[in-house]
Amino acid sequence: MQIELQEISDHLYRFAPFDALPKESVDAIARRIEVSYFKAGSDILEAGATIQDLHYVRSGAVEIYRRNGELYDRLVEGDLFGQAGLLRSNKVRFPARALEDSLIYYIPADVFADLCAQHDAFADFVEAEGNSRLKTAVEAQGRASELIQLKCRALISRPLVWVTSDISVGGAARIMTEQSVSCVLVMSPAGLKTAEIEGIVTDRDLRTRFVAVGLNADETRASDIMTVDPVVIGSDDSVFEAMLVMLRRNIHHLPVVHDGNPIGLINLSDIIRYESHSSLYLVNRISNQTSVEGLRSLLRDLRGTYIRMVRDGATAHMIGSAISGIGRAFTQRLLELAEKKLGPPPVPYCFMVLGSMARDEQLLVTDQDNALVLDDSFDPIQHDSYFRALATFVSDGLAACGYSYCKGGVMATNEQWRQPLKVWRSYFDQWIEKPNPTTLLNSCIFFDLDGVFGKLELVQELKDLCARKASTHPVFLSAMARIALNRTPPLGFFRTFVVETDGQQKRIINLKGRGTAPLTDLIRIHALACGSTAQNSFDRMDAIARSKVIPPEALKQLRYALEFLSMVRIRHQADALEQGASLNNYIEPERFSSSERHNLKEAFQVLSNGQNFLRFRYPSKGRF
């Protein structure tokens, strides 16, 4: 006769990972459960003892410790423990003690082994420290990976149409009409290699650079009106990367190259078919606005795009890139409008963005962080009034569009951050050669930098300087590490509280300050250490992987943790937006689902391990 322990199986069935098992399997587990009661304060598992069962908290609360006595976790009804020991040598890894009177259900080792063997989801869930749970969560949430998986070559629908640079504009126009294309590649007469791509001519170029200017069709060469040295994309690059390039550069055509040869062209409409959230359209609309009011009116579309991306299952990397691309488009358009109002700049300049926009990791709640890098011919007396006006116009415009003023004053309106390249060089030299944690604390933000408008080479020089210099200045890296270690993740959650590593409980968590920010901080340091000029955290991790500073497995975990933490933050912002609530990074633990709690806990653990590694690699010298 089958003995039913309904009371036990019903309870198991309410909690992960049992909730995902077939009912019969849960009933079968219930029939094998063993039970024990523990008075508050009594030991449940002692370090080094033999462990034969998976432990399940039926009621009460349990504290898990590291072997050095540090609190590791605080568990409640429905939580599991002991899996780490079961999976390795059947010795208790983390001692456990009853925090309240607790009833523990034991799942015998053979049942545990069968469950792991038969149910992948169960195995993933209990894989202690394996973070495969985080991996599973990250993979499950990135459903709209079509943009990432699809390669650019899949979008090429026709053979490449090209002309040589000595052809007349009339000849080029005829070929474009015959072939019914909106764009041709202009090649050097010498050959058809990628290296010989000289430029690109689009319908728009024919209108704006030729017809509107009133040139002669037979005397003008294609090379006279082409865009020189166009950005190209590899045939194996993802459609997502093509989208990023278009977003960042606000261009609509991309030559695709394969093995050193151009093989085709893709355009905006090819990509938009795959991109349902229309961030590219928005960028296009931004660049057509003629006033700050017009730009401001697009704020609602920005929010709509954001929510659509989140609901479509876009990854954090995609969302961060798209939102940053949109932010750049706002900035670029404001600069164009400013130049229109103020006239052309007296000396070349580059408008530099810092922080999350430079990293392509911007979300909706964000400050503007920017600066002006001016040509060294800049003379403050003659030129500064122009650039001050330019900076003010852009900064006010950005504030009107929802990018609030930087509380720390990191804006081009601040004279200190509106300087010629040579001054900027001296700033960075100073920061790197004579690091002082106090001044660095405020200037850390400058180590995520990117030019968005103007003479981009000016900012590229600063990026190169950082990459070259930082890696050879260990004292600087140590100072940065000290700062990065100021912000630590919490331990986890307990009922409706955030649990700190010292056991204290708080009602609210800042998911940016305690999660994504310290994570990007530590990634930045490793990236600087290996001389990378990459700014995006995921790109930086690629660079770190190549330099092998961090073991590949640990790096993989950092990726999952960053993606997961970012996604939780992004989703909560999208929820708040839909509910009309104000946006911030503070979240009450009760708003996390139980699986989010588990995964957050793991992500915090990965961050904590990463910080320990940083501490070990850059030990405090006691002075700077």
């Binding site: 003995i3 039913e4 009371e7 063993e34 024990s36 008075k39 009177d101 034991y106």
Partner: protein, 240 residues
């Protein structure tokens, strides 16, 4: 250990000697075998004793006129309750199932139609009980009904040591209420299974399924020992 002093001066029963005698005087081989398995010494510390939580559901409260409809048993020790070795039977009662008790234990006429009669489960039941101390919540039911059922079938009764979790609970929560207490309307605390469990922070279970109640009783004893006694308490101070 501190609570030992509060324990009433129980006559410490020597079930071990009692079983030796019963093994000799009983006639039925089933009962002989049961008694021969012996009873643990009254001095044995409770943590070393093999226990068996038991619950029987009946058609009524009078063992003379009512019958057993289900039995659940759950073997355990102070450290572990083993659901894997639990047993549960629905039994065809010798008296009619009345409507009132049906609503109580949820066993319906349809379920008992194909159920065995008590004599068919006696063998495995005695085997499960052999060598163990029985743990129940309110001993009068289990003891009386089993004794009566065995007597009806074999012509001789059944005796066994019992730890009664309700009695333990009464000892700690049924102190005599003073005249002043009565004056201000102080009420006796409930010592029903669910209330006793809740006092010791054990979760609420659905009552009146014999096996769930057996599990609930086993957990309650673990909690009572952890709260009020030492694991070294001699079993003789707990049983009767």
């Amino acid at each position: 250990m501190k609570n030992l002093k509060k324990q009433p001066k129980n006559r410490v029963l020597d079930w071990s000697a009692e079983f030796e005698t019963l093994a000799k005087i009983s006639v039925n081989p089933l009962l002989q075998k049961f008694y021969q398995a012996g009873a643990v010494s009254a001095l044995a510390p409770i943590e070393s004793v093999q226990l068996l939580a038991m619950d029987v559901e009946t058609t009524g409260l009078d063992s003379q006129s009512h019958s057993i409809v289900s039995i659940g048993v759950m073997p355990f020790t102070l450290n572990r309750i083993c659901c894997g070795n639990s047993l549960y039977w629905v039994i065809k009662p010798s008296s009619e199932l009345n409507e009132k008790s049906v609503t109580f234990h949820h066993i319906t006429h349809a379920e008992i139609l194909d159920a065995p009669v008590f004599s068919q489960v006696l063998d495995p039941l005695l085997e499960a009980m052999a060598g163990r101390v029985i743990v129940v919540h309110y001993r009068n039911i289990e003891r009386a009904f089993l004794d009566q059922a065995v007597r009806r079938y074999l012509g001789e009764g059944l005796k066994f040591p019992v730890i009664d979790t309700m009695q333990l609970e009464a000892h700690f929560h049924r102190q005599k209420i003073s005249w002043f207490g009565r004056l201000i309307g102080r009420k006796q605390e409930s010592i029903r299974l669910a209330d006793s469990r809740s006092r010791l922070n054990l979760p609420a279970y659905h009552a009146h399924h014999a096996l769930t109640d057996a599990l609930a009783t086993a957990e309650l004893l673990q909690a009572q020992i952890a709260t009020h006694y030492s694991p070294l308490t001699p079993v003789g101070e707990l049983w009767n």
